[in-house]
Symmetry: C2
Subunit: 265 residues, 2 copies
DNA sequence: CACCGGAGTTTCACCTGGTGTAACACTGCA
DNA sequence: TGCAGTGTTACACCAGGTGAAACTCCGGTG
């Protein structure tokens, strides 16, 4: 947690100028001077630098500044997951401050849940070393079951079919669909899903059991991601955790869904 | 022409870091240190600033840095014309240094040619104040005729139909399509189009006639833009200009087309 | 034609603010 | 327990960023 790191004023100003430029389709030196309040010589130097960096250009037709077309490619690499992770991160942080226990957010991908962001780092309790590719099983983890439980029936069926063909023993429960579907229906009516007992251990020593619940982040009828809350089974009961934190978790899921639909800042 | 303006090192470094970040999907401080050669404390400050500026973020999961999803929106405002103008600008500049006389580049839009970029500013001869919205007539200007002559027949017909309904007297020639089509066929076989005699005046005093030729910037069969070369009719003959500069103009058009297809830098 | 005002550019001296070394803290790994 | 690698903090130096002021260039106006 960097706290006392200072920021670089010259760079911050440069970004400001770039953003000002981005708001207008084109801007004269005067426009930028009025908007940013920076002295013109300063602007001249900043704009020169932005030009050399290939993010702005000065039209030789009218001498006005514009953002370069090359910035179109910025952020082209990153997928939906990145946007989800980014919007979720601050919500997870706040959640962890309130609940103390850590949360994860994950999306379904290729037969498993892929963890995108986590507040495990900042819980006062411990660190769960879940970093084996950050993928957890659909039928064992709370998040996987939440995804299945709250997805439209067609998608649920497709995933279960896929799992039943999987070579991974943790996925084999899918070969008995009726039992699984009954459990999932149960999760759905309760409004949250639970981790399969015994899946996942807690802490380095791996002594204590981990327990977790998860809720979906919904976009329309689709499950965009799943949000979990984990704790050490020895420390408190599931009933207690649900009573204390479920609504908070659901609110957070709704907030994340909202942020993704209309990101601010 | 700013010559002695210094650039801002701190900003240039910040942009470098951002680009480095953009190349990788995610990067640790060490990665960035290796790639940019900047001292780690310096990077820490730069990254802090980029974060505050909303263009980078640090995942709390793994502590690695990524570009923020918000940069996806950068450059979303600008259209194809901006990209064309940007790629053409340096080519026009070079062209003007070689030929001394000025060039324009324009695209067809809503019944007229819209000038995107120009090297009139830097020709030693004069300044043509063509800035009335930077739009010139299709049938009178060399660029308008080049667009028509080299476009697929269907588009040519559609534009002529539109012009024939125009209220602007300069467009009325379109009401006699057979004559216009013959002229355009002529332009096409010659490889360049010419300005209608008497259209456009030269310089502030508006004494001397302007003359111009234009060639298309082709993308497949479509005319993406048109590139013109203008001169004062009294100073030299059209034959002379064609002999000296036509191939140069065509090469430039091809170069611009290439740049637009695969922009470098 | 002289004058004026506004935009852009250059110069320059001040001194802030950016910089990197060095020392420190943390975390796995052997 | 020590070691290596990585991230973070402190600090003193002085390069380099800054803006006031002066200047140029242009177009408009009386």
């Amino acid at each position: 947690m960097q706290v006392r790191v200072k920021s670089v004023r010259a760079l911050a100003r440069g970004l400001d100028v770039f953003k000002a430029l981005h708001n207008h389709r084109s801007a004269s030196l005067q426009d930028l001077h009025d908007e940013t309040g920076l002295a013109k010589p300063t602007l001249l130097r900043i704009l020169k630098t932005l030009e050399e960096g290939g993010v702005a250009r000065r039209s030789s037709r009218d001498g006005r500044y514009r953002v370069s077309a090359s910035v179109r490619f910025f952020g082209q690499n990153l997928g939906v997951e990145d946007a989800i992770a980014e919007q979720a991160a601050p919500v997870l942080d706040r959640l962890c401050r309130d609940m103390l226990w850590p949360s994860d957010i994950a999306v379904y991908k290729d037969g498993a849940m892929e963890i995108l962001e986590s507040s495990r780092h900042q819980t006062p309790f411990m660190v769960n070393r879940d970093r084996i590719g950050f993928r957890v099983h659909m039928l064992m983890s709370a998040m996987g079951r939440a995804h299945l439980a709250f997805s439209p029936a067609a998608e649920r069926r497709a995933i279960l079919t896929r799992l039943s063909r999987s070579g991974d023993p943790y996925d084999h429960a899918a070969r008995n669909p009726s039992a699984v579907l009954a459990d999932l229906a149960n999760d759905r009516t309760r409004g949250y899903a639970v981790r399969e007992t015994g899946y996942g251990r807690w802490g380095i020593a791996e002594r204590s059991q981990a327990d977790a619940i998860a809720v979906p982040v919904l976009q329309g009828r689709r499950v965009l991601a799943c949000l979990s809350l984990a704790w050490a089974a020895g420390a408190t009961t599931r009933t207690e955790m649900v009573a204390r934190h479920l609504s908070r978790l659901q609110d957070a899921a709704a907030e994340i869904a909202g942020r993704i639909a209309a990101p601010d800042q």
